[in-house]
Assembly symmetry: C2
């Protein structure tokens, strides 16, 4: 069975793993990513990790997942926000030169979506839309086992979709659109709204869900609006690609019992009747990042 | 060079043509589609047309374009609105039985988009988003030369994307969402708004554009709002698939000199900065329907 090397570069940690074509991790090393030290130190640290993998010699290719939109043609990050100095840095070429293997790279949400589509909850479905409902909101479109990255790697930047143009622009928070779903329905949006409406000491979405369960009216309003706003975003996505399944990951889904029914009802209300039976399932992989990174090689080989 | 048969079934006319893999029409027949007569008469009429094509014997497969969302797995139309009795009718199986050739079918906008992506204005681009700005608004996502049809064929039904949830629902017009872009920015939406704000005798979008040129303030407001609403829809699409190019067809584009700059400026204002240079080009094929239908075979063969 073919094996590939996956590299999952995050703002805090980096993982390298040898993964087989079924998505099983054979061997893995994890270290701090040293994200503030600049590309050379970060990448040489990764090279050293790879050289410590006993089974790297079996790998047919290298796949990389990284935060931020990825220019897949040039093999660099279009805009790196939590990896200092990485914007435009030729990461793919670096690993090609170092190891003389095929190297592929894509955005972390895209590789996680690919992993879920190939060996996770979306397995066997032709059009899989994966999204994370977390501190932020991001997505990935996977068609016939291939990630659609787009022109500059911005496919999946669904957090910037406007779900209500009448909302205020939050220039003090970020540069997203006024009414962007990430500023209205993400984990951090819930916290921000709860701090304003309920208690400035609130620090987590979990607390807001707990207040909701306890019957707090303001918390109910925040969660209900969030559910509707998510449904609006999902209807936009579905009218573009009509997925066979939505695979959902991210921390906010821990409270899914308290909002999925409303989110899905809003989605169903905002799509054509024949689109209402689209499935929503939880992401199922523990480490979709490093598995999906490795599977990028498998996915590209197939073409 | 390989040749394929394209069938373009419309509510008024049907075209059959032998098309080569470069998208050149070798031979074509056009007849009324007899859309109210039911599937058997419509389809037997098409069989007769095909049997009158001298070069059909060279064709390696049959591709069909048809109005309405297409269930590509079952080979039928999910919801036929202007072809009586066609909802769920096994069209693909009918032609397979009749001619013992591979048969593929997709929605008319999807096949037009495929034609533009393979041999028209989107040629050579990996992710092409085609849309028609016409009486209605519809689109097609083509990735690496393959149409993304989706679960029930509703990919591309972008006319139902909500660009402003505060607009009234037009239950007397259709069942689209309140604030659906098709009800706010299509050719028929422009006419409807102009009838209300300017003159109930207005019957075409062209008249509204003419009034705009003459300095009519209400016409200016209608066109400017339409341009912004289109930009909003396009930003939603781009955040899902980040196309390398938007290819635009449809009757409203005849007046593109009067609104494209504003539409594109709105789009650019509503996307991440790195997405602002996405190209917008006019569709270039005279008969994308029948060419794209034939190219479906080419596209499927490749996989």
């Amino acid at each position: 069975m073919s094996r590939y090397l996956g590299i999952d570069i995050g703002g805090t940690n980096v993982r390298v793993a040898v993964v087989d074509e079924m998505g099983e991790i054979i061997e893995e090393i994890k270290r701090p990513s040293l994200a503030t030290e600049g590309p050379e130190i970060v990448l040489n640290n990764i090279v050293d990790m790879i050289n410590n993998l006993e089974h790297f010699k079996d790998c047919l290719g290298i796949g990389i997942g990284i935060p931020g939109p990825v220019d897949t043609e040039r093999g660099c990050v279009s805009l790196a926000t939590n990896l200092k100095g990485f914007t435009g840095y030729p990461i793919v070429d670096f690993f090609k030169n170092e190891f003389k293997l095929p190297v592929y790279m894509d955005n972390d949400a895209n590789v996680a979506g690919l992993a879920e589509a190939l060996v996770g909850s979306g397995k066997g479905k032709r059009v899989v839309y994966y999204f994370t409902h977390s501190t932020g909101i991001g997505g990935a479109l996977v068609v016939d086992g291939h990630v659609v990255s787009g022109n500059k790697g911005y496919a999946g930047e669904v957090g910037n979709i406007v779900i209500d143009r009448s909302r205020p622009r939050l220039s003090d928070v970020n540069s997203l659109n006024a009414g962007a779903v990430e500023n209205e329905a993400s984990g951090s949006a819930i916290v921000r709204k709860a701090q304003k409406l309920i208690d400035p000491e609130i620090t987590s979405g979990y607390q807001v869900f707990k207040l909701y369960e306890e019957g707090n009216e303001a918390a109910k309003e925040i969660i209900d609006n969030m559910s509707y706003d998510m449904g609006m975003m999902l209807s936009c996505i579905a009218h573009v690609c009509d997925p066979h399944v939505f695979v959902v990951g991210g921390g906010v889904t821990k409270s899914r019992d308290l909002y999925w029914d409303k989110m899905i009802a809003a989605y169903q209300d905002l799509v054509h009747p024949q689109m209402r039976d689209t499935e929503f399932v939880m992401a199922s992989l523990e480490e979709p990042g490093v598995i999906g990174a490795a599977m990028l090689c498998y996915s590209k080989e197939e073409l």
